[in-house]
Symmetry: C14
Subunit: 93 residues, 14 copies
């Protein structure tokens, strides 16, 4: 296997696993937060505004962790600096 193929193979595997493993935590965390929000709404409907606002801030924080994983996954697929280097090197040689 030449260098290009190895980097391509490794980038594909890592891109997939990063978003796959990285989705477990945020999905469970968001499910828990939404679950609590609904229980709280049922218990104290008058505080709906505060609860919803806090929920959205919290979901944004948790989602940000999933976004990190997605960003790394997209960088590996479409803006991979090591791949660019390998392409440039093979073009220049």
């Amino acid at each position: 296997m030449d260098s290009q193929t190895i980097i391509a193979v490794v980038s594909i595997i890592t891109a997939g696993l990063t978003i796959a493993i990285g989705s477990i935590g945020p999905a469970l965390g968001e499910g828990r937060a939404v679950s609590s929000a609904l229980t709280s709404l049922a218990q104290q409907p008058d505080a709906a505004a505060t609860i919803t606002r806090t929920l959205f801030v919290g979901l944004a924080m948790v989602e940000s962790v999933a976004i990190y994983c997605f960003v790394v996954s997209m960088i590996l697929l479409f803006a991979n600096p090591f791949w660019s280097h390998a392409i440039a090197q093979s073009a220049g040689s």
Copy 2:
């Protein structure tokens, strides 16, 4: 194995595992959220509108994580940049 075959093999495995592993978290998270929504509805039927709206926003957030995995899986199968490069290279050589 030539480069094309390796990239194809790796893309198939990664596409499958990405959506398979990536489905565990969102499915459990959504199940938890729906479960809480139903308990809340039974406890406070008057707040049904607020609960349902919050549930849908929350499910959308959790589902978005599953969508990330599905998108990466589809990209690997049908719009794989490394595969396109390998095809182009073998066509040009």
Copy 3:
């Protein structure tokens, strides 16, 4: 092993594992949602209409994650782009 055999073997394994692993999360999530729906129905029979409607929407969301896995599994078995390419290549050579 020639390229075709490798791709066939990998497609078979991935198709099976994708739906097998991908069934754990949705099945548990749906079981939890249905379980809550039944408890809620017993607690508040008057809200049966709202509970049932919310349950079906939720089940559809969770099932969609299982569908993603099933779709990827079927694509790998019957509409595999890499397999088509390999067949075309061996036919053209």
Copy 4:
């Protein structure tokens, strides 16, 4: 090992593991749903009709996930497209 044997071996292993792993989630999910139904029936016998109907819909949804696994397992054993291709190829050669 020739190509046919490899594909046969892989199909056997995958068919078995698919249904074996794929049975864990649905069985646990259904057990949970049935368990809740029975508790609910004991708590609110008057709502037996609604509870039973919702239970059956829910079980059908969960069972559908197990069916996906069984279908893939049967396809791999009796309607395997890659096996058919290998047979056709060896017959034609």
Copy 5:
């Protein structure tokens, strides 16, 4: 190892593991359902008829998942299409 031996070996291993792994989920699920039925019976003896009927339907659904595994296991031992093919091939050659 010739092709027949490989297929025989793989069939034996897969047949055993399929029913072994496939028995964990249904056994736990049924245990949970039976457990709930007994608790419910103690709590509401008057609803014994409904509870028992629902329990049997539920157990049948869960058992069906174990049956899938047993069927695949038996097919691999006694009606294995790949083994039949290998026998036929070696007889014909």
Copy 6:
């Protein structure tokens, strides 16, 4: 290693693991069911007849899963079709 030895070795390993792994689920499930039965008996001694009858039906269902594993294990040891074939083949050659 000749074919007979391989099949013998694989049959021994699989027979042991099948019943070993297959005993975890049923034992835990039955323990849970018996545990609930005893709690229910203490709570509602008047319903002892119904509880005991339901318990026995449930235990039979769970035990059946363990029986499947035991049957497969015994088949592999004493009525193994692949072993019979290998013996017949070596006797005939």
Copy 7:
């Protein structure tokens, strides 16, 4: 390694692992059942006869699963059909 040694080695390993792994489930299940029996006895001493009888039936069912494992383990050590065949074969040759 000759065939006899391989079969002996595999039989030893499998015999040990079968009873070792197979003891986890029954021991935990029986512990749970006994635990419930004691709690029930403390709660309802008048039902001691029924509770004790049901406990013994339940323990017998759970123990039977452990017995299966022990039987397979003993068969592998002292009545191993494959070992007998290997001995007979080496004696006859």
Copy 8:
């Protein structure tokens, strides 16, 4: 390595692992049973005789599973049939 050494090595490893793994389940199960007995004694001191008797029967049942593992472990160390055969064979040759 000659046959004797292999069988000795395998017997040592298996003897140790059998009792090591086999001690986890019974120890946890007995701990749970004793724990329940103590709680029950504190709750209902008048039923001490029945509770203690039931506890001892239960502990005997759970301990029996640990005994199975110990017996197999001792057999492998001091009455190993395969080792005896190997010794006899090497003495006779």
Copy 9:
């Protein structure tokens, strides 16, 4: 494989795994914190200001752990000192 390719491959894999594994803890921790905040808000709406402020400080602490992982991941992709060294070395040679 030359040194550059090895370092590139290892950097890609590590960058992906670092953020993937590192997202599990923070996401679950934040989900728990948000969940408690919502429950607390529903219980004591008057303390909303204190609760929200404490929540944000806590989320910032937890998020900081995720940031550490993201920073290391970005350093490995875009400011990798070992990669710079390898590039400089290959340019100078």
Copy 10:
């Protein structure tokens, strides 16, 4: 490696692992039993004699499982029959 070294190495590893793995279960089980005893003493100080006596019997039962592991570990280190055989054999040769 000669036979003696192999048996020594395997005995060392097995002796260590046997007592290490075998200590997990008894330690947790005893901790649980002691924990219950203390709770029971606080709840019913008048039954201290019965509770303490039952606790000691129970601890002895659980400890016996740990003793089995320790005995096997000591046998492997200081009274290993296979090691004695190897020493005798090398002395006699």
Copy 11:
């Protein structure tokens, strides 16, 4: 691979895994502490000052563990003594 490359590769992998694995514990621990702080605030708003102060001290203690991991990770990337030695050695030779 020369010595420099090996040390670089190992440093990259270890730096990533150290902070990735090391983030799980602190993130969960901090999430738990924040969660308790919020529950306590809702229960006893008057003690807000003491609770907040204790929370910050506690978070600092937990964060310190994450800092240890981050420090080791940074040392491995930017102040690695073994890397400095290898560079010095290759420069001096």
Copy 12:
């Protein structure tokens, strides 16, 4: 590697792992026992003498399991019979 080095290496690894793995169970078990003792003391300060005495007996039982592991670990490092044999043998040769 000569025999001495192998035995030394194996003794080091086993000594470390034995005490490392063997510390998990006792530490958790003692933590649980101490935890219960403190709760009991708070609930029934008058029984402090009995509780403390029972706690110390229990801790001694649990600690004894850790001592077994420590003893085996020390034996492997400082009184290893196999090491002594190897030293004696190499000195005698």
Copy 13:
């Protein structure tokens, strides 16, 4: 690989893993302790002084375990006796 490189590589990996794995336990333990402290403060604000003092002693005990790991990690990086020996040896040769 020469001896120095091997020792450097192993030291880097072990230093990272030691602090990474060693941070899980203390972080969770401290999180639990802080969490209890906050709950206790909310329940009994008058005992704030005693609770805070006990908390700090407890945190110091738990932190000490993390310090052990950090110390070993630092020793391996900056005061490694085996590395010093290897350097001295290579300098002296």
Copy 14:
């Protein structure tokens, strides 16, 4: 690799892993004990003296297990008998 290097490498790895794995149990156990102490203090401030004293005795017992691991780890780094032997041997040769 010569004998010295192997023993050094193995000592480094084992020293790190011993304290890393060995820190999980004590840290969790101490966290639990401290947590209970704080809850008890809040519930019964009058028994502070007894609770604190019992806590310190308990923490000392749990810490002792961590000390065992630390001692073994230090022995492996700074007073390793096998390393001393290897050094002496290489000096004497």
